[in-house]
Each structure stands twice: as structure tokens, then as C-alpha cells.
Symmetry: C2
Subunit: 237 residues, 2 copies
């Protein structure tokens, strides 16, 4: 079975409800899945987060188990029909995955064809490392190595420079340029409202705005919704 991932830049668009902007596509992607395993560790309030996700997926006819509620996490991953890793703080999320020893079980299941939905920090998790997260390093994971389900990096919530801003912090593009001073691997900037559908060997950009691709030593490129990004799966890190 081919590897299948749906990686969202963000879970919520300004002025809309949780996952509303991509609900139809998530439902299509999950096909006949009727029970999902949710990973809530990016937020502090795991019960609240699980309850929000449970309500949202109930509307799609999908039941939800939360990883923080199960007796045996590895077994829950082993038996899941599909996985959804929600957004929040990437460092907190990755630390929890290490602590629970679920990195390898998740990798194995996704490599074997279990559908994976990630948003924001959950999208960072699918990358080789968390080196392109936007989050504050509020806790220290044992390593920056993440699930490594795709051979390139994603920068979620990608944002263009604010015209007229007088703030002197680095723009997102500056930060990714600095990333490429130290790393060679491509970085796909996913603007809010976009997502990446990976059905190996195919990769397609979803949503209604462009993504921006950064490659070491090249000028950034704008990619349009619907664009095939299959070439990214064959990139060597």
C-alpha cells in the first residue's frame, strides 16, 4: 500500500471553525475510515483538545480515540485505522512522542499505508526534523529528528513579509534562508489555507493560494494550487 499523508498548514482559518476549510478534503482523504487515533500532545489541555477534535470528526461520521486516553500507546498506534496529529507547540509534541516511544510505531504504520493527517505542528512532525518549525522551544526534546515520513521540510503558517512593518525580527523568508546556510534539504512554505496531499509517488498542493518552495542555492519559487510536486519525493536530503 502506498504512503498517504495529508499535511495542513493550519487547522483553522481566520473567522472560520476548526478544520472547516479542509473538512471535505479530509473526509475524502480518509475514505472509509470510521475511527481515528488523535495525538493531542501539542497542547497543554489534552482533554479539551481531544473533545474539540471528537466533536469535529463526529460531523464527518468518524469516531475519535485520543492517544492520551488509551492504556497502551504503542498498541493503539498498531491498531489505528488512521492518525491525526493536531497543532500547538512542536517542541512539546515531539518531546511527548519520544517519551511515549511511539516514533517508530507511527513511522512503521505510515510506511505501511496508514493514512496520516497532520496540521501545523502535526505537519512539522512528518518532516525529517523540526528545524523549520515556527514555534518557541519551550521544552527540550531529546533530538530534533522527527517522523521523517517525507524527504523534505515544510514550514507551516508560511507568511509573506508585512508591507510597511518596522519590526526588525527576521522575516519568514530570512529564517528559511538562514536554514539553508546550515542545511541542504528543500523547504516548502505552506501558506495558511493550503495543504499537501501525499499519495506516493504523487504529491499535490491543495487549497486556494500558492505555496513557496525554497531550495539551497536557488531563488524561491511560487507553486500554484493543484501543482504536482512529485519531484519532492525523489529529493535527496
Amino acid at each position: 500500500m502506498s504512503k498517504r499523508l495529508m499535511l495542513l498548514s493550519n487547522s483553522t482559518m481566520h473567522g472560520r471553525g476548526f478544520l472547516d476549510h479542509a473538512a471535505d478534503e479530509i473526509k475524502d482523504f480518509l475514505g472509509d475510515v470510521d475511527r481515528l487515533l488523535f495525538v493531542p500532545y501539542a497542547l497543554h489541555d489534552r482533554d479539551g483538545y481531544a473533545s474539540k477534535v471528537r466533536d469535529r470528526f463526529a460531523d464527518l461520521g468518524i469516531d475519535v480515540d485520543s492517544l492520551h486516553d488509551v492504556d497502551n500507546e504503542e498498541e493503539a498506534v498498531e491498531n489505528a485505522q488512521a492518525l491525526f496529529i493536531g497543532g500547538g507547540n512542536t517542541f512539546r509534541l515531539l518531546s511527548a512522542l519520544y517519551e511515549l516511544n511511539v516514533i517508530e510505531p507511527i513511522r512503521r504504520r505510515v510506511e505501511g499505508g496508514m493514512p496520516y493527517v497532520g496540521s501545523s505542528a502535526g505537519t512539522n512532525m512528518a518532516c525529517p526534523t523540526i528545524r523549520t518549525t515556527n514555534d518557541m522551544p519551550i521544552v527540550e526534546p531529546p533530538s530534533f529528528a522527527a517522523l521523517n515520513l517525507i524527504p523534505f521540510q515544510i514550514n507551516p503558517h508560511y507568511t509573506d513579509p508585512e508591507p510597511g512593518s518596522t519590526h526588525m525580527g527576521e522575516t519568514r523568508e530570512d529564517r528559511i534562508r538562514e536554514f539553508h546556510e546550515m542545511n541542504r534539504i528543500p523547504v516548502l512554505g505552506l501558506r495558511e489555507g493550503t495543504w499537501l496531499s501525499v499519495e506516493a509517488p504523487h504529491v499535490e498542493l491543495g487549497g486556494n493560494v500558492n505555496a513557496r518552495l525554497f531550495q539551497a542555492g536557488k531563488a524561491p519559487e511560487e507553486l500554484e494550487p493543484g501543482a504536482s510536486l512529485d519531484f519532492l519525493l525523489s529529493k535527496k536530503p
Copy 2:
């Protein structure tokens, strides 16, 4: 000799030259120092950075040696009259300090009274850890533990929420709230144009706008320029 630090939020204000907004105060702080050791590792172009810093301090009548140019880094720290750690990427900077084995020598000298000037990433370095940096984790340091010269965290380039923004990434205040879900230590948000002068046991806020203090379990507080923050030195992490 008492511990002396000048910790700037940022090195450059919009529309002004490098360090211009605090040049008089840096000169006052350094007193009769006529030679400074500069730490350029937060940027990739160390030669370019050292040359920019050398030119700027020449205007203040101060010569500059750059740590990347010396034969023996530990010895250079041992013999320095004063230290300036410039801004850039905090993860890259901390990785370099570990690699060069200068963490302990710098700590020892600053504890012994050597004046320390930091800006942005150089200000993050003075904190117990880099857990309140804004930077992208483009490289993985062996630890998030930093120089630990002060017993609280600083968030440089502190910025208020943009009115009317539709971007769904966390605001700076959200990020620091998430920090306090996982840590107890106070965080001082230094807006651009401000700095902290530490002359133990005294701590004073410099610049012309407020700073914002975040403490676990308390509402954030606004602190005015000139405010005494001596109480921060006695906080237990």
C-alpha cells in the same frame, strides 16, 4: 566586582544604523574599556559581521577582536576587557559556543565582573536557557542550557499582537503563555528599542518604551523605562 550586563532587545531600529539607538549608553556602560571581544557566531558571514562591528565600535573609540579570528578562543575570553555577543540565530550561536568550549570561561569572567553586552541572540545567551528565543531551530545545539548569567528569561524583539491580523500563528504573548505551561521562571518581554542594565544587585530597564513581564500564574505586567527590576535577580527559577 559586581556582575555587569547590558542586554539589548535588538541591535538596529528601523531606519537607523547598527547600534545607533543605544550607542551612548553602550559607551557609558563600557567606561574605560578600549578593546572588546566580539562573538560573531549568530550569523553565517563571520568576517562581514566582525567588520561591521569593528567599524561601529571604532566610532566609540573602542578596538574590536573577533572570536573567530583568534588562535585560542579560551585564552581570548580569559584576557578580554569586555565581551559583545551580537544577534542572529540563537541556535547557531549556542551550538558554536558549545563547540568552542567557551561557555564556562565566559560565565566565569562575567561572574568576575567582565562587562557583557548582548543584543537579540546575544541577550538570549545570558539567560538560563534559550527556551524563549524567537528563532528557527536551524541547527541542534547539544543542550538548550545557555550562559545562565541572570536568573530569569528574556524574550527579545517582544512584539504586541497586530491589530486586525488574520494570521493564525500564535502571538508572542500566546507563546510565552505556552512557555509558562511548562516552566515557572519569569520572562521579560523586551520590546525593540529597550535594554536591560544589570549592575548587580541592580537591574534597570533602559530605552523609551515599556517592557512586559510574564510570571507563571499571574497577569502580565507593563514596566516603564527607568523602572527598577532588582527583584528579578532574587527570583528562584
